[in-house]
Subunit: 229 residues, 2 copies
Amino acid sequence: MLTHIRGERHTQDVFRALNPHEQSLVDGMTARQLELPPNREIVSAGEVGAGLFIVSDGWAFRYCRIGAGCRQIVDFMLPGEIIGLQAALLGVFEHSVRSLTPVKLMRLEPRLVGTAFETAPELALRFARHLGAEARRVESLMTAIGCRDALGRLAFLALNLYRRQGDADPSNCPFPLRRQHLADALGLTGAHINRTLNRLRRDGIATMARGKLAIHDLAKLQELAGASG
Amino acid sequence: MLTHIRGERHTQDVFRALNPHEQSLVDGMTARQLELPPNREIVSAGEVGAGLFIVSDGWAFRYCRIGAGCRQIVDFMLPGEIIGLQAALLGVFEHSVRSLTPVKLMRLEPRLVGTAFETAPELALRFARHLGAEARRVESLMTAIGCRDALGRLAFLALNLYRRQGDADPSNCPFPLRRQHLADALGLTGAHINRTLNRLRRDGIATMARGKLAIHDLAKLQELAGASG
DNA sequence: CGTGGGCTTGATAGTCCTCAAGTCGGGTGG
DNA sequence: CCACCCGACTTGAGGACTATCAAGCCCACG
């Protein structure tokens, strides 16, 4: 049953207000719930038909490796968002997914996606929109990495993750990323992230520490992040 | 009629081998063909319901601006690929699209996408897969930018654009990017692109000049680009 | 209390950018 | 046909930004 996670605070819940047929389809394809501690691999690049999940609580992130040393975090997944949509459509995972905080996941059968396209067009459309929204986020992060310096990139990411939480308190917003996550998401090193965070704090713009983001000067943060964010 | 562009060399043609209903749907939503010279804006960021195109000949690219100075090229579009799928699903263009070479485009009515989800599930699925493949390309480019130095990024892009052309001659492969396109796609400056190209050529790995890519040492190029490619 | 991982900081080096001048090539007008 | 012109490309010198490496710190945990 996926029913009981509906109604929670999910910005763009794909499974909200389904019609009866869609609902029974989803319920029939829901395998089970699972919980994971932080920093656990949920799916690994290269897996085939591995899984389709919806994040019901906690944060995850997906990333790509290139060669050995370095990983690029491509996107973060917040509650209500889907893991494995791309792979359900294309067959293989090209990226890995890992829990950032403790997470609760609902596992769905990957063929739900194909079935939705056959018999539940509304639901299929939601999947497609979800995929599009995800792609859009990646592109905007990529633009930040390609165009801005460390300060701008950090401002961009902070602002985006703040906004994605809808109802969060700007002065005490959940922000469970560690230095290394910031570094891997922004194409920088942990050491430089640290220096740049100091600057953001010293200039009275924002503070990221101990799992919380505090925005002290939203206007300035937006300016640093670029008009885009 | 879209029929006459089927059968050309299109790696992943979304409109190949449609069933009669899908075919009539597509034909009914095909507005007209248009041709553009290089470096013309096809759609601009911010447009709503602007357009859906299929590239029938030539190359285009899409890019995001952030603030004023800098643009990030996010992906290239080759013949057979679709422009505006994301926007058709989400309503607004977040990116701009511009012709790289002279292009021929077929303009389609954007509501073809929504209609496909309602009445032509096979076609809708193809759209979704196309979107997924596009997202995957963006993510791999982003990983290259975030993880590799200038030499690795150039190798990565050269290799990818070579592979996307399927039947191209490795020693004389179409490659219509100018220095500035490479720079904007890879998060570097034109000057540095130039120095790095010199190094690639001097080391006998590859040459990009006058619209052509020549790969002299494929193994080394792959190694530079990372195992990912 | 010891241990380990993440965080912090400094010194140093390398990559890449900026700016500016010069070259080349293709298109235009005389 | 030639001179001119403009944009793209090229190259160099200097400087900004970021990486690398290493050491010390702090806190959570066993």
